[in-house]
Symmetry: C2
Amino acid sequence: MIHSFLMIGQSNMAGRGFLKEVPPIYDEKIKMLRNGRWQMMAEPVNPDRSTSGISLAATFASSWRLFHNQQDDIALIPCADGGTSLEDWSVEGALFQNAVLQAKAAQKISTLRGILWHQGENDSNGEKYRLYGEKLALIIKTLREELNVPDIPLIIGGLGDFLQDGMYGQYFSEYHEVNKALIKFAEDHDHCYFVSAKGLTANPDNIHFNAISQRKFGIRYFKAFQQKTHILESLPDEDQMIETIYNRPLTKNEKIEQLQYQFVMGVVTANEFQDQIVLIH
Amino acid sequence: MIHSFLMIGQSNMAGRGFLKEVPPIYDEKIKMLRNGRWQMMAEPVNPDRSTSGISLAATFASSWRLFHNQQDDIALIPCADGGTSLEDWSVEGALFQNAVLQAKAAQKISTLRGILWHQGENDSNGEKYRLYGEKLALIIKTLREELNVPDIPLIIGGLGDFLQDGMYGQYFSEYHEVNKALIKFAEDHDHCYFVSAKGLTANPDNIHFNAISQRKFGIRYFKAFQQKTHILESLPDEDQMIETIYNRPLTKNEKIEQLQYQFVMGVVTANEFQDQIVLIH
């Protein structure tokens, strides 16, 4: 059985963590949608921009795997788009329509189990927070109707506390009010859980969660999903869960996938490939 | 006005040329589809796999720009998927359905002007070439009907002459017959033009066109489109056209895009960014 999750929002849902900063995660039971089909997850999961990198998707999926039947697959439907405002996500817009089409394509080959949302940086000025809850409610209500999933959990994450520290800090002067609007939204709506970004840190741009923070955020999103509760603090075991995920031994298929990647990228030669594939089999 | 092109096929349409081997191409009048919207092209254009790289898309678009009104935009709709057979592209399948959805989304915000196809490596054994023309005809006929574009050009490229030289050579024993089937298809169908891969070379895997060959292939695809003719040999001016494309001065917007990429990727600091942005403005 394949359990799928729709991932929507702006750049911090798409992911901008630097790939070189954390170990990769391979797991043949974690899929991602590409061109209407599943393939084994490889980061970046959500290639909305050439800057796309580590997102919360991988550890969300990996921690889901730790708590579920090992025969089941988890599958990611990446539809986040960098720099987009809540207005850009209105139900008449192209982003919303694309997310519906992608999710419907995924529903033909999986069961949709949850929606993950991270957005709000672009609404952190000009008093946009005042209408944030109302606008998000319409987006989620319409999405649930279109996909016929009235009760599946919606997990929404908070904005990082670093946003005002950087070169673009002036644009995020109301990030705290957006966070309050997100918490209130989660409190006011059934099947909706808020995940705090407390303690998470940024890339040098002070806009995007760094790779290790995205790894932690994914664990928190999963805990909120699993326990059906708001996560208002960092989790005592998030570092340990990340280690458990990294230390999982690779299966034969995953080793072959890694080796083929290195061959296609020119990192290993045909001779090296042939020597190493023998050791895997 | 925005003129769009649908790009379908397998990995050599998606592109596996190494990004580090050729200069990047920036042009704010070249767009690519992401999440139902246009954004400025940045390679890889077709992120079907983590191995995705340089494709023929960029020089196809750049050479189109050299011969068209400078006010017009060209836009790419990337739907190619690595390792896919002609059977995978059958009209009932997910790849075809995805390409139709993406192209229809693009048609809301552009005029579809052409279809670019490169596929056949996965059909280069087991006498699959015998039915290649017949199967491709049904795919293209159905695609034209669904998109309501009966007369727009279809450009189809040949397979590389290196395929039998590598570790996987045994799987490509009939690549020459597939090439003949592609040429015959182009000869037998109106508005269809064949583009030879003669002289193009491969990555060390002997499967994928290397970056410079993809640059040349894009020029040939454009010439076939522009002149409505088959391109059966390498072009005498393809290297020169590539130089012209590389030497085009960047606009202010393109320089800002490049600088922002470097800032988000942590390559330039906030201070360096602020120093350099002043020089652009």
